[in-house]
Amino acid sequence: MRAKGIFLLALLVLPLLAAACAPDAAARASRELRVCADPNNLPFTNQRLQGFENEIAALVARDLGATVRYIWWAQRRGFIRNTLNAGVCDVVMGVPSSFDLARVTRPYYRSTYVFLSRRSRRLGVRSFDDPALRKLKIGVQIIGDDYANAPPAHAFTKRGIVGNLIGYTVYGDYREDSPPARIVRAVAAGEVDLAVVWGPLAGYFAPRQQVPLDMVPVSPQIDLPFLPFVYDISMAVRRSDPQLQEELDTILEKRRPEIDAILSRFGVPRVGRGAIARGGI
């Protein structure tokens, strides 16, 4: 009886001991990288993991020895508050490196706003100062009336180009796939002559339209006094998590070729890649 009891006890305890003796292995097996992301925001992320940020998250997680777990949340006002800063996840992909609501990693790409138009129009617009812009019907993306609208709207307003702007809310209709892509479809359909669109969005959706579209990086890159059109992009972690930031920085440095390959595959226009230094702009 007694011997049998001890045997049973050993059966119960041994696995526990084994686990206790190999904490690293256990931790590695169970490490999770919790990523908060929009479930409907291609080319960045979606629930079917078809976005380039989905791929980059998987790449980074592999190096961390972790599995990715997504927490889905529409990217609206309060996104960071309700996700990263509410402690429900560890990482948010793709924030501007100047982002001040969280701790950011080193930038992993730099992109630009582009002028997008139908190739058949041969507009050749390269600059916000092109006089042709006064006569064209121009699409821009807008977000809110709290003086935080997207830079293209401000650049046009500053030049007195107002009456011929058509606004597309970035929120769009969330029932549609990737609502922000509507502005690209508007160019293809001839709703507007030209639109100013953030590079990754244009680069991914333009080739998927029925008609060929031209994509030209805007100039100036910084509209004075200080309205940038070129942004470094980082990952965001909680302010209290410098350790994860360091780990991610190391991986982003090491995996730069792989990340570049992913970005190329998704048609993300990049500028001044060599200029991206540790620590951002």
């Binding site: 993306q141 009336d145 709207a153 307003t157 769009g172 969330y174 200080f226």
Partner: protein, 617 residues
Amino acid sequence: MERIVRRALTLGLAAGLACTLACRTRERTDALRPAEPSGQRTSSGVPPAIASREAEDGQWLMAAKDYANTRFSGLQQINTANASHLKVAWTFSTGLVRGHEAAPLVVNDILYVVTPFPNDLYALDLTKPGAPTKWVYRPQPTAAAQGVACCDVVNRGAAYAGGRIFYNTLDNHTVAVDAATGQEVWKTKLGDINKGESITMAPIVVKGKVLVGNSGGEFGVRGWLTALDAGTGQIAWRAYTTGPDNDVLLGPGFKSHYPQYRGKDLGVQSWPSEAWKIGGGTVWGWISYDPELDLIYYGTGNPGPWNPDQRPGDNLWTCGIFARDPDTGEARWFYQWSPHDLHDYDGINENVLLDLNVNGRLRKVLVRPERNGYVYVLDRATGEVLSADPFAYITTSKGIDLKSGRPILSPDTKPEVGKVVRSICPAAPGAKDWQPSAYSPRTGLLYMPGNNLCMDFEGVEASYIAGTPFVGANARMYAGPGGNRGVFTAWDPVARRAVWKLEEKFPVWSGALVTAGDVVFYGTMDGWFKALDAPTGKELWKFKVGSGIIGQPITYRGPDGKQYIAILSGVGGWSGAIVAGELDARDATAALGFAAAMKDLPDHTTRGGMLYVFSLP
């Protein structure tokens, strides 16, 4: 809570008070009472919406108490002499931690509470000790579109009519629930959360129609007011705030006092290109009704989502007030508080309908404390501004030109991208936001909760990129002159001046209640529920509740014949987001800059929704 009596009240005290007040009332003012709507059944089969309030029935049937939006109750068991003895009678927890802005209802010995999202409706049985839950109705608004709704998840209350409770869910449904059983009678979808629309306002029921407006101006939503048949839930009419006359329901019956509102399709013409299609002007505030003139009155929200420079023009019909025919929705007149709004001054506050002596003549007016810092008195038949007087510290304008009806703006407080503008007063929430005032026909005073907030705008960088998280606006708010962020004002609309003012540490974000016992009630964001002497503002009693108050106090007569006072505590809303949403106090621009002004709120209150009911021992 430093108390300042700005001017001594000219009324007598103690014994002579009641008589003096009554005489004064007869001479000068009388609150408009909603009449019994003819007693006929409407085509929908729903009995007349509101019982006559000629005699106080001790109930509370709509958030604003009556069609005139007075929040005045004829109950007088609790009075200035005994209010100091008020004690908690019972409490009820909603189990939710977001902002509780609603007014409870009391009908047929049942107290109804609508919660913030998920917008559950509780019926509490007042005939039993401790008011146990009789039933709960759960509309189960969609959680799938989390984060898609624009603003906070508050709800401002319900309305009772013909045996049914009507209210709105955050995901744009209006529901009718059997008041006795909690069974859903109908549920109608009015908008789409996927387009940024939501509903937070308390509906009213007028002549068999439930009137409902949308929220979400910040998201490029197009504002509307919709009338639903109370019997069937079918949409009877919808009046948009922007767009062609046909959509705005402007026809031959539309006759505004001011010439700037005359012309074809001004809801299109006063905008660039197609900006009106996403122009805002949502309808998330209060609706009044005058049965005699047969007109409803409601305000429209700010224009959006463009910045001011990007939408030249008056941006009609945003930031104004409509008078409409409740049967057809057709507009009769319009007036715009803030043409081409620069400061996010939504025009949705309450319109209190009074018959007022103006320059020796009794006139049908509406009194309107507006975000821009002025108390307006309008002729409610024509929309003519009779007076507009500042009740707060104002730097954004120098006055209202009564001839043109337009504010005289101060050019140096116009926000511009790339420019730093300081001392914008009032700040975006205005001198008074949605928090509704109360009017007593006995004192002739309007009791107004309010804010004392200014704002700096630093439009140095606009770094928002589509597809990336929202970075936040570069506005930050702070206390106005005096250092107090809140103020509670007793305003004399005839003399056009404040009679007394109380300063509060935080914005007074709760509604007000005044009774025939001459007691005024309101709550503070740090959790004090207060009773004041209505003529003088003297504090009679206060009680510290569990969480900051942003709800609307009500009063009712219980089945035991006693008078009760009820208030929801549960901090949140725009002002309280720093607690309810656990914002980072280091982020000065959170909650559109409001968090900067509320950094110390978390030191004074914690979250949690709870109904408190008080009575005399």
